[in-house]
């Protein structure tokens, strides 16, 4: 399974969220490949789950995959809850 985290230029924020997702996935005991990119590249990179903060998540809706929209980049509890919900929805948890 592949998870792609996106932000405006795919350098800073998405990278931080990626590291947090790796932490959360380890806690949930789920294996996945996590990458980060800018919005332009997202379309060409097939992923099962796309993650972004709520101000850009609408830009990810047109891609074929689940979209996780975060209200906060720094709230680990929110991230874990939303990742858990989407993994349950995909029957992966």
């Amino acid at each position: 399974m592949k998870i792609l985290v996106c932000c405006g230029s795919g350098l800073g924020s998405s990278f931080m969220i990626e590291m947090n997702i790796n932490k959360v996935l380890a806690e949930l005991g789920v294996q996945a490949e996590v990458e980060h990119s800018d919005l332009s590249s997202a379309k060409g990179m097939k992923a099962n789950i796309y993650v972004g903060t709520r101000d850009i998540a609408s830009q990810l809706e047109s891609l074929e995959g689940e979209v996780v929209s975060l209200n906060s980049m720094i709230d680990l509890a929110e991230l874990k809850e939303k990742m858990r919900a989407v993994l349950i929805k995909m029957n992966l948890l």
């Binding site: 350098l11 800073g12 931080m16 800018d38 919005l39 903060t53 709520r54 830009q59 975060l70």
Partner: protein, 420 residues
């Protein structure tokens, strides 16, 4: 033998690869991951150089048309373009300053009250590069360059998050997370303007604001669009005859201008891919080591960390900062100074952030006026910065965000005082 080792170490790509290698080894990664990470980091540096060639060639045509059309130098401030260009010259020094600057950041966080770890790796890289260029332009090289450069970089990495923190607490409602983006002087200024003008002004988030412009968050698209407009303006100013005879090899001047704008956006795209590869191993290592040595330090994160708190302020800030950029440009034209054009990336990211900071202290009036002042300020700073950058000061692009201007201008002029 020693000569061979020195030769290898003087290749910047290899040097950053070595940094990644050490980082991965310290983290006790498996050997397959160590090899993979090291190769990718080296590749990142080489990719970045390729992107620089694309972007700088496209900008060269822009500069020529601008000069022909308006008779003065026109500069598009763009961090990625100037850094990619500069790394060809100062790659080795930059890699060393970046590495030891991160060490300095950890030590400062460990032993002083500035408990911030600056995690926006691309800005660490850009600041290291600018510091290297300014020291070298002032004649300081070798070991002193690396020592002073690293200390200065470490100080900026701890100092700027500290001055943003009071407003950050207001925005995020917590003191746990800090802010790391070298436009901080502009954001603090915007917050100051916000508290002056924003008495009783409602938050931007209480109003309905059309979100139709949010496709501009796609950086490559917005660079291509805004640069397309700028290229068209200069192509018309230079005239079809000039463009088709001297630059486009007969191709229609409008087609030529638009293609060059998209080529520039493409070059930036490649540079960003390179930067992403370079940072992929180095930043997690830096973060891991910092967390172990200074567990109580606050992680300082890239500017979009504040965007979800005020999406309306993000768009208002961008538009109003861009407007400030146009006003600033008009003033520079009137003064017959080098013309700093409104670069889309600085206004988008920094302007948006200035909007959020202004909103935090002064609601929608604060967001508008704060970002407007920010936009004017980042238009003037490059004019004063370019003279201290040495040869880099003659490029068609330069560093864009406020702190690069402030640090660079101070450093360059202090060095001038002491060295002459």
């Amino acid at each position: 033998m020693l000569q061979i080792i020195l030769d290898i170490l003087s290749v910047p790509a290899v040097l950053v690869g070595l940094v990644a290698l050490v980082g991965l080894t310290v983290q006790k990664k498996k050997s397959a991951e160590v090899i993979k990470g090291t190769i990718k980091t080296i590749m990142g540096f080489l990719v970045l150089g390729g992107g620089a060639d694309i972007a700088v060639a496209a900008l060269g045509h822009f500069g020529t048309m601008f000069q022909q059309g308006f008779g003065v130098q026109g500069i598009v401030p763009h961090n990625e373009a100037i850094v990619a260009l500069a790394l060809k010259e100062y790659g080795q020094q930059t890699a060393l300053i970046m590495t030891f600057g991160m060490v300095a950041n950890i030590l400062i966080a460990r032993f002083t009250r500035l408990k911030y770890i600056f995690l926006t790796g691309h800005h660490t890289l850009y600041m290291a590069c600018m510091i290297a260029a300014i020291f070298i332009a002032a004649g300081i090289t070798g070991v002193p360059l690396v020592i002073f450069g690293s200390i200065l970089l470490g100080l900026t990495m701890a100092f700027f998050p500290a001055i943003a923190q009071p407003t950050m607490r207001k925005i995020t409602g917590t003191d746990e997370v800090a802010f790391a983006h070298f436009g901080t002087v502009g954001y603090v200024l915007s917050a100051g303007v916000g508290s002056l003008v924003g008495k009783n002004s409602k938050s931007t988030e209480e109003m309905q604001f059309p979100q139709g412009l949010s496709f501009l968050r796609d950086t490559s698209v917005s660079i291509a669009l805004v640069m397309g407009i700028l290229y068209l303006i200069v192509a018309f100013a230079a005239g079809p005859a000039f463009v088709e005879a001297n630059l486009s090899d007969g191709q229609n001047f409008i087609v030529f201008a638009l293609l060059k704008a998209i080529t520039f956006a493409g070059g930036v795209y490649v540079i960003l891919a390179g930067v992403r590869l370079i940072l992929a191993e180095i930043i997690p290592a830096f973060k891991g080591i910092a967390e172990r040595i200074v567990p109580e330090a606050k992680p300082a994160l890239d500017c979009p960390v504040v965007f979800p708190y005020a999406p309306n302020a993000v768009l208002i800030g961008f538009l109003s900062s861009f407007l400030g950029g146009i006003i600033g440009m008009a003033i520079l034209i009137a003064l017959n100074a080098p013309v700093i054009l409104p670069g889309v990336v600085p206004h988008f990211f920094c302007g948006a952030t200035a909007g959020v900071f202004g909103n935090a202290t002064g609601g929608k009036r604060g967001a508008f006026w704060g970002a407007l002042v920010h936009g004017i300020v980042i238009t003037f700073l490059p004019v004063l910065l370019m003279p201290v950058l040495g040869d880099l000061g003659f490029a068609n692009t330069t560093f864009s965000d406020a702190d690069f201007g402030v640090v660079g201008i101070l450093l360059g002029n202090v060095l001038k005082l002491f060295i002459q």
